[in-house]
């Protein structure tokens, strides 16, 4: 009897396709979501994979970007299904583009749904568009990567190791910074640039927020400074300092790793921030001749590098303070260390933040010089 029952259950198991069964042929994967503000409405753009027969591959783009508008984000997003005859799978969506116009207007228009919706992965990378709509960015084509959403995502991840300018911002972190007092988001911006006869997406600047709005941008230099100050280990990237033997020439240093510690102090009711950065890197290049690699010059270059990092940090701090955007989370630092003081300043923190004095101390050490330990010598 039991054996028969077991067999019956096994047979029944085959019929259990699940409540949300869907044929692969009737589905499409969403790669990225874009939200923008256009004609007093929310415009949603969705990039989806497009199945292409093998014989036609390479002749057409393998994705479609569909845009719709609505009074709310959910209405605009649902309207996509008026023009797409397939069910969408959101598990692969890894990028979220927010239009500059929208974030300058009010994030309150969209954040509730982005937080609440189970389909929107909180691990998605967030980008703010610059000078172009989300639709235009998503419709562009990235070199080497067939899907622009994935291409821009990879661009951000690759630059971190190679160039070291922008800090990726995941949606989860974005939500955290918007909902937590004393810390504001800084999000990489993406724009389109003409290279040869092609227009390709490229990263350019970072969007700083205050409360629910984007209030300005940080340039590359200032964004580098923000990256140094981040309270986490950063790895990779290069930066340039003057040559120790000829200030007109340059030396390129590569960062191995850097870690910063931020400490808040309150003296006579005045908040002061102390930032200590410990970094180490490799000598990467000199664009001149001459014996740069001597123990004395290494010391000089370490000092120059520390000064350069400090300069970038101060540029970043000055810009953030001029915008009143606490992208470094100093408010959180004050709250964590001096909760009583925080209670007094919390309501006018953005104004207080702009006046906070910051002291940046950097110690950079050069470790290695790769294949050669002397400068190149011409015959």
């Amino acid at each position: 009897m039991k054996r028969h029952l077991f067999s019956l259950l096994l047979i029944l198991l085959l019929l259990l396709a699940g409540c949300q069964s869907r044929e692969v042929n009737n589905t499409t994967s969403v790669l990225g979501l874009g939200v923008d503000w256009k004609s007093n409405q929310i415009e949603t753009s969705v990039q989806m994979t497009k199945p292409i027969p093998p014989e036609q591959s390479g002749q057409q783009t393998p994705f479609v970007t569909v845009s719709t508008r609505g009074a709310t984000l959910s209405e605009a997003a649902r309207k996509i299904f008026l023009s797409i005859p397939r069910q969408t799978i959101w598990a692969h969506s890894s990028t979220l583009f927010l239009g500059e116009k929208l974030v300058q207007r009010d994030l309150g228009l969209i954040m509730d749904l982005l937080t609440r919706n189970v389909e929107v992965r909180k691990s998605s990378l967030v980008f703010i568009t610059q000078g172009f709509s989300t639709k235009e960015i998503m419709q562009s084509q990235t070199p080497l990567e067939a899907y622009s959403c994935l291409g821009i995502r990879d661009l951000l991840q690759a630059q971190e190791k190679q160039v070291g300018i922008y800090v990726p911002m995941k949606l989860g972190e974005f939500i955290y910074r918007l909902s937590t007092p004393g810390i504001d988001p800084l999000v990489p911006q993406v724009t389109l640039e003409k290279q040869g006869d092609k227009i390709i997406p490229t990263l350019k600047g970072s969007a700083a927020f205050r409360g629910r709005k984007m209030v300005g941008s940080l340039n590359e230099d200032e964004t580098r400074g923000y990256r140094w100050i981040q309270p986490q280990t950063i790895q990779g990237g290069i930066f340039i300092i003057p040559s120790p033997i000829d200030p007109q020439k340059k030396v390129t240093l590569e960062l191995i790793r850097s870690r910063s510690k931020t400490r808040a102090t309150v003296v006579d009711q005045k908040i002061k921030i102390q930032i200590e950065i410990q970094a180490e890197g490799n000598f990467y290049e000199q664009n001149s001749t001459g014996a740069v690699l001597t123990p004395e010059n290494i010391k000089i270059m370490e000092e120059l590098a520390s000064r350069e990092i400090s300069r970038q940090c101060n540029a970043s701090i000055a810009r953030a303070q001029s915008l009143g955007s606490d992208i470094f989370g100093w408010g959180r630092q004050v709250e964590a260390t001096f909760p009583e003081t925080w209670m007094q300043v919390t309501s006018q923190w953005n104004e207080v933040f702009s006046e906070v004095e910051a002291d940046v101390q950097v110690k950079f050490s050069i470790r290695r010089t790769y294949l050669t330990d002397r400068s190149f010598v011409f015959r």
Partner: protein
């Protein structure tokens, strides 16, 4: 008739506590204490030990299992009346467990699926568990523990891979006394779910029952404490209270090397096993209490009719998740404390004036729960 060993008792009690509270506790405690939520869990060691001592003392001085021990200590009429009321309480706890399961799955996993399907599937599996007897449920609890505990540690570790910010745990202990007291009361409440030990001890060596209970308490503090800490570290104190199930949101953020991600579905599978365990044991308590109150020869046949009551009650509990959360945070604690602490406390006070008893394993009806349909 000593068919449950110490480890099985530990597993059954742990299963009673962990699965539901794994999701609920971080939410409620962060809403009270923000980044200091974990302090309430650690402090629950003190009231938790007292609760265990109360249960243990009752066990030591009782000849009969719950609910018959109510008659033994309070008298026949009050004991029977209370036992009868407890039936409704156990149906309520079963229904609440089922409803939490439904709300979680419906909100996070399979939105749009009719809830009757979730209710039906869970009731059928738990029904099978009850029908197969207490020993089967004990083995099932062992399995759930073997899978669930290591997985909880793994989840906690993986959650910390997502931009952990230990600064989120500061400022340390900056909170109001009232908020802390409320949070402590809530953090202690899950430990009251060990009440079934008053029935289970009858099938276990009572002399050793303190140890498994205390191990459960320590496990609760470690597991729920760590998952609360990792949730706060990953999401922040304020942000955690924003989400309905913050621990689940933290798990969803896990992404290692761009290829280990979307692992929440593994969590869901194991969590469902845990919910099945909790539901089965609360439901068993309901059926067993009915059997003892009405002097019936078996409790298994009661699983079918009570299934309907539990299913319907779970739907009627609240019309939406907001009211369910209000119920969970505002009303249920009072009900739980009344039935799981206040009445046992009264029994405990009465037993203070009694001498410890010798174990009587051959109590009529004791065969039923442990015998299995081999």
């Amino acid at each position: 008739m000593k068919k449950i060993n110490a480890f099985q008792l530990y597993c059954m009690l742990l299963v009673m506590i962990m699965p539901v509270n794994f999701l609920i506790i971080p939410k409620v405690l962060t809403s009270y204490l923000g980044n200091n939520a974990w302090l309430a869990i650690i402090t629950s060691l003190v009231p938790g030990t007292l609760i265990i001592y109360i249960y243990y003392s009752i066990i030591k001085k009782s000849l009969q299992p719950f609910p018959l021990l109510l008659e033994e200590h309070l008298g026949r009429i009050p004991g029977k009346t209370l036992g009868f009321i407890y039936v409704f309480f156990f149906i309520l706890t079963s229904s609440f467990t089922l409803r939490i399961f439904v709300e979680f799955i419906e909100s996070n996993v399979l939105p749009g699926t009719p809830i009757s399907i979730f209710i039906g599937v869970m009731l059928i599996t738990a029904f099978t568990g009850i029908k197969s007897g207490l020993v089967s449920m004990a083995r099932m609890a062992e399995l759930i523990t073997y899978v669930g505990v290591p997985f909880t540690f793994l989840m906690m570790a993986l959650t910390l891979t997502h931009n952990p910010d230990f600064g989120n745990l500061k400022p340390f202990a900056y909170m109001s006394y009232k908020a802390f007291a409320d949070a402590l009361a809530f953090a202690t409440m899950p430990l009251l779910n060990m009440l079934p030990v008053l029935t289970l001890f009858h099938y276990f060596q009572r002399e050793n029952s303190f140890k498994p209970m205390f191990q459960v308490l320590l496990s609760y503090i470690v597991l729920v404490g760590l998952i609360t800490i990792s949730t706060v570290v990953a999401l922040g104190g304020q942000n955690s209270s924003l989400f309905t199930f913050p621990a689940f949101v933290a798990i969803r953020l896990v992404s290692i090397g761009d290829f280990i991600q979307n692992i929440d579905i593994v969590f869901i599978g194991i969590w469902i096993m845990g919910i099945f365990g909790v539901l089965s044991i609360w439901w068993f308590m309901a059926c067993y209490t009915i059997q003892q109150v009405f002097n019936l020869h078996d409790y298994r046949f009661l699983a079918a009719p009570t299934a309907l009551i539990i299913g319907v009650t779970s739907i009627l509990l609240s019309p939406n998740i907001l009211e369910l959360n209000l119920l969970a945070k505002g009303v249920l604690p009072a009900v739980y404390y009344f039935f799981l602490l206040f009445i046992p406390l009264v029994v405990f006070v009465i037993t203070l004036f009694k001498a410890p008893v010798q174990h009587q394993p051959e109590y009529p009806g004791s065969e039923n729960p442990v015998s299995t349909a081999e």
